[in-house]
Symmetry: C2
Amino acid sequence: MKNKKYIRKKAKVYTAESLIEGIKSGNFTALSKAITLCESKKPSDRDMASTIVSACMQIENNSIRIGITGVPGVGKSSFIESFGLHLIQAEGKKVAVLAIDPSSERTKGSILGDKTRMNKLSIHPNAFIRPSPTSGSLGGVAHASRESILLCEAAGFDVVIVETVGVGQSETEVRQMTDFFLLLMLAGAGDELQGIKRGIMEMADGLLINKADGDNLKAAQLAMREYRNALHLFPKAKSGWTTQVGLCSALENTNMDVAWNMISAYEKHSKSNGYFLTNRKDQLDSWFQKSIEEILHQKLFENEKIKADYHFFSNKVISGSLSPYDAAKQLLDGFL
Amino acid sequence: MKNKKYIRKKAKVYTAESLIEGIKSGNFTALSKAITLCESKKPSDRDMASTIVSACMQIENNSIRIGITGVPGVGKSSFIESFGLHLIQAEGKKVAVLAIDPSSERTKGSILGDKTRMNKLSIHPNAFIRPSPTSGSLGGVAHASRESILLCEAAGFDVVIVETVGVGQSETEVRQMTDFFLLLMLAGAGDELQGIKRGIMEMADGLLINKADGDNLKAAQLAMREYRNALHLFPKAKSGWTTQVGLCSALENTNMDVAWNMISAYEKHSKSNGYFLTNRKDQLDSWFQKSIEEILHQKLFENEKIKADYHFFSNKVISGSLSPYDAAKQLLDGFL
C-alpha cells in the first residue's frame, strides 16, 4: 500500500460558452452542470446561469411543457415512468422530467424515490430526470425550475414534465410554468382527504384517474363519470378548453396513449386559437415580475444598515410598541 | 319646488386624534371611518391610519380572534349570525365581524349578502359588521384586515371574527391573523368538491359540521366520526392542540355553545402553554416582513425611471430576447 500513488483528477473548468455548446449538442453532463448553476445562490453562479439561459432562449424548439400533480400515493412517479417510456417508444420523443418541491425535508425521500421508481426511464438515453433542488424558498426553487425548462428545451427535449413533489404549495407555481396541467387522482372513498381542492381541479387541463385496474376499474369508471359531471359546474377556462377526464393504469401500462392524445388535442386547440403563445408570454411576464421582487428582497437584506436595524425594529413590533407598517416604513427610510 | 333650499351638509373633518378618542369610547362611526383609512391607498390616509393603529395597539384588551372559513353554501353567514348573537346574549360579549375577500368581483355580492343574511346581528348594538374592502390585492386587503382587527379591539370588541369570503386564496392569510381557525363543513356526498383540501383541514383548530338538522342529522353524525378518525392521521399542531370536531345547526340555532366551548378550551390550553402569546408575536413579525415587501414594491413602482423602463424590459422578455432574470437585474440597476 505504501507505494500506491493517489492520483487526484483535476476538476474540469466549465465556462458559460462551453456549457452552452454542450447543451446545444445534447450533452447531459453540460445540461446537469448548467441546471446546478441555476439552482445555486452564489452571485457568480447566478450570473453564469443567466448568460446560459439567455443564450438557450434563442434556440428554436417546438416543445410542450406538462405539469403533473396529485397527492402522495396517487402514483405520480410510476405514471411518469410509464408515460415517459410511451412518449419515447411510441411517439419518438425526448423527455425531460424535473421535480419541484419547496419543502426541503421531503426532498431527500423524493430523490431516492425518483431514482428507484423511475428505474427504466432514468437510464433511457432519450430521457433526462432531474430531482428537485434540495433547498431554497418556493420562489427560488420555482425560478430554478423555470430556467431548467429552457435549458432542457435547448438540449433538444421536446416534452418537459414538471412534477410537483410537495403538497399544496407548488401547484400554482407549476401551473404557471407549463402549457398543460395534469391532475392525477384515485377513485374511491376518502377523496376529500386527498388534497384535491376545487382550486386545483380548476387549474387542471386534464384529469386522469390512475390505478384504473383490477378490482378498482369499476370504481374508477364511476369516478370518471362523476368528475365529468362535476367539471361542467366549473367556469370555462381562459384557454377555451374543456378539461378532459380519463382513466389509466401506470401499473399495467394502459391508456398512456389516452394521456398523450389529451395533451396533443389541447396543444392543437390552444395553438389554433392563439392561447398557447399568449399564455407563454404571460408566463414570461409574470416570471419577470417575480424576478424583480426577488432581486429587491435580496438586495435589501444584503444592505448593512438593514441588517443592523432589522432586529431593532422587529423587537419594537413584537413588543407592541410600534405598528408593523410604521416599523417597515422607518426601516426602509434607511435604504431607499 | 322653486324655492326649495338645498342644504349641503358640511363634511365633518376627522383628525387622527379625534378618531382615536372616538374608537376608545366605542363610537361606531369613528371605528368605521378609521377602517376606511386602513383600506385606502392614498399615502396621506395610510399615514393617518398608521398613527391610529399605533395608538390602538397600546390599549390593553383581552380579545380572541377567530378565523372562519368554509366553501360557499356551507352557511358561513348564517352561522356567524347565530354564533354572534349567542356570544352577545349568553356570554355577554361584544362581537366584531370582518370579511376578507381578495376577489373584488365577488365582493359586491358579499356586501349585499352580509347585510341581508346577518340581519339580526347587524343591528345589534353590541355587534359591528364590516364588509370586505371592495378592491385591492390580497396583500393589501390582508394588511387592512390586520389593522382593522386592532382597531376593533381598541373599540372594546372582545371577540373579532374574520370571515373568508373568497375561495382558496385567503385561508392562509386569515389563519395568520387569528388565534383560532374554524372550518365549517357539510356532511354528505361530494365533499371532494367542497374545496376542502388536506392543507386547510390541517390549518383548522376546530371543525364544525353545519346543517346538522332534520334529515341531515345522521349523515352529519357519521361525518363527525369520520373526520375525527381522519384527523388522527394528521401531524400534531405546533400549539399542541388536537383539532376538535363538532356538529351545529345555524338554521335551528343549536350547538352554538359547543362552538364557543371549543374556542374557550383552545384559548385556555394555548394560554397555559404559552403558545397563544408566541403565536401573536410570530404573526406581528410576519406582518412586519410583509409590510417591508409591500412598501418596497410600492416605492419601486412610484419611481419615474422604473415606470419609464418597465415596458421596455417587459417587451424584451416577452419577445424572448432577454431572460426575465437579466431583465429584472437591468431594470433595478436604475433604482438601487
